[in-house]
Subunit: 380 residues, 2 copies
């Protein structure tokens, strides 16, 4: 090869170098030029050039010196996570939760609005509006600062962000969630099923962080599943992956009945609390519920052979009463029983997954060669 | 950025350019320097340098002129698929099939040795040896020419190429297939489950070529499944993906019984032929068989929501009697019914998948930057 490089080769190399530096700084800590050159494998001169370019375009900032630094330390550079904002919204049966974060996913404000499964679609959409407005106001940002919004909803979602079918909230079938939210924020709106997004959250910030293949079970007033395959959310060809509950043989349809059949005693309304207090009928009902859930979970596990099963959703707070039976049932049915863990994201998992969906959209745009304009033109 | 590139940057660019050219020529037709420069986006000068380098190292050859070419046409360059050889071996219940191919997967010789499910492991391994020796002799190559060997076997295979569990051939449980075959060939030996490799073959050269997510059903004397997810074979954490048949609720365990319960009439031993000839009991038995298979297939489809279901294995020749009922049953149970097609690879699918496994290993080595030594040193 000659040492003469054509203009096209040089341009290509520059793009690659800029993306390499962005990827290295993105989500990590601030680095000096020397550290950046080491981690990227670029020459010191190329690193300097790329950083100067990214500073000018507004993607990178000089990090502030730590208090107590003496002498004249080398300058450090960081990704400008504050260049933009994203929103994650969970539209549930009992609450709407909106999280507003910077580009690193650092949550700046969280806004919760109570709703009810019996509400009509207009009431629920009004609650969505209040949650979004509250999140924006709470963080002191305008809709124009929002680069992307992720929305989680119950039910099957089509490619345009409309709810195709919702078993849990029949009124919700047919709602154009993306269309509605798009009128409240700037930037693209991505809508996805709540079980899928809760799975995404576990793999981002939950107990599934280090696992490649994960089966997530949403256990609560409804039962659902989300799959992480090879580190990525698996949606399926028609966005209907994880819907094993539709198969009558797996028992998810009747599972809830066991819990409903339990009669609350005086002063006790929570079956899990009753079970902890020694109510034998409550213990037996929960056991029957978990046994039914376990058939579907076994079908998912036998299909995918995941590394990990995560139990999330409302019932994950009562994991002490669920995981033992679930593990035993999986053991009985599966060729290899994966690790089974409870979610630690409490009831924010779904909204965090919606936030991650928005961040994934931003990252995809950032990684597309040739699109690294200034952040201000990101939405243009 | 300055126009001065460090030695490290230049070396990096050269490696990238060499791999870009290799990827463009690999598996495609011969190209002129002008065409190569266009397709790779490299400058003419860089392309010339890379090609000269690859010619010297033996990875690329000048393509022969077509007969009848007049004038002085531009030289064309091709990937040297004849630089090495790979083997694909299917160890089945009724046959051992060994395919020997070049690095493009062009089969040069196919060797078939009949076996029997009742054979012991030593007899079956002797048949494997005969098939491999026959494939090598038939193609006129020595074991030293074989860069990699893929082997398909029934049962669950562990990470070292040993059979952990074989339901179909109990004698086969515990056999160290990789260890045995390694003593017959040079280069690495990769062993994988037959349903998984048949799925891989469909996605390489079969009806699943253009699909990203595929459920492959091996329908024959045994029922098995292999999954292609995002274009890649999904193995699972413990290499046990697709084993949905282990769940009693899905009906695969009893499915065969319906076929076995049919009594052959005088002169007719094949239930599918009998069904075509109008034997009502044969038709009903096949229908019951497919209905049982369909429950497991539905569980796979509801879990993954694939684009396509492929039916392969011995019974795929009788797809006319199977696919209609299978489609109707999937329709009844699944949220979205994928396309259902029969394999067109006849009984060579599994062996082709084994060949692809060997080629994947070679490709991975070729794509590893810094390993592009001469082909002759590939096995060193």
């Amino acid at each position: 090869m000659t040492e003469e490089l054509s203009g096209g080769d040089l341009h290509r190399l520059r793009q690659l170098n800029a993306l390499t530096v962005m990827r290295t700084l993105r989500g990590g800590s601030a680095l000096t030029l020397t550290e950046l050159a080491q981690r990227t494998g670029l020459s010191r001169a190329s690193t300097e050039d790329v950083v100067r370019d990214l500073l000018e375009r507004g993607w990178v900032a000089e990090a502030e010196l730590k208090v107590g630094t003496v002498g004249r330390p080398a300058r450090r550079y960081r990704f400008r996570a504050d260049a933009g904002r994203v929103l994650g919204v969970d539209i549930g049966g009992h609450k709407v939760l909106a999280l507003l974060s910077d580009l690193d996913g650092e949550v700046l404000h969280s806004e919760r609005v109570g709703v009810d499964p019996s509400m009509g679609r207009m009431e629920r959409l009004a609650a969505v509006d209040r949650a979004i407005a509250g999140a924006l106001a709470g963080a002191g940002v305008s809709t124009a600062d929002v680069w992307a919004t992720g929305v989680a909803t119950t039910g099957l979602v089509d490619g345009t962000g409309r709810v195709m079918l919702s078993e849990a909230l029949p009124e919700w079938t047919g709602v154009d969630v993306a269309g509605h939210v798009s009128r409240r924020v700037s930037g693209p709106v991505l809508v996805e099923n709540d079980s899928k997004l809760a799975a995404l959250a576990e793999s981002w910030r939950g107990v599934a962080r280090y696992a490649k293949d994960v089966v997530f079970l949403l256990a609560g007033l409804r039962t659902g599943a989300g799959l992480i395959i090879d580190g990525k959310l698996h949606r399926g060809f028609g966005n209907a992956a994880g819907e094993i509950g539709a198969l009558p043989q797996v028992g998810w349809i009747r599972a809830q009945e066991h819990l409903k059949a339990w009669t609350p005693g005086p002063g006790v309304t929570n079956i899990f609390q009753a079970a902890r207090d020694g109510d034998r009928k409550a213990v037996a009902a929960i056991r029957r519920y978990v046994k039914d859930i376990a058939v579907g979970a076994s079908a998912l596990v036998l299909t995918l052979d995941p590394e990990l099963v995560v139990v999330g959703g409302g019932f994950s707070r009562s994991a002490d009463l669920i995981l033992g039976t679930l593990r035993a049932e999986l053991d009985r049915r599966c060729i290899r029983t994966p690790e089974v863990r409870a979610s630690a994201l409490a009831d924010e998992g779904v909204a965090l997954g919606a936030l991650r969906l928005a961040l994934d959209h931003v990252d995809a745009a950032l990684n597309r060669p040739g699109e690294l304009a200034a952040p201000s033109s990101f939405l243009a």
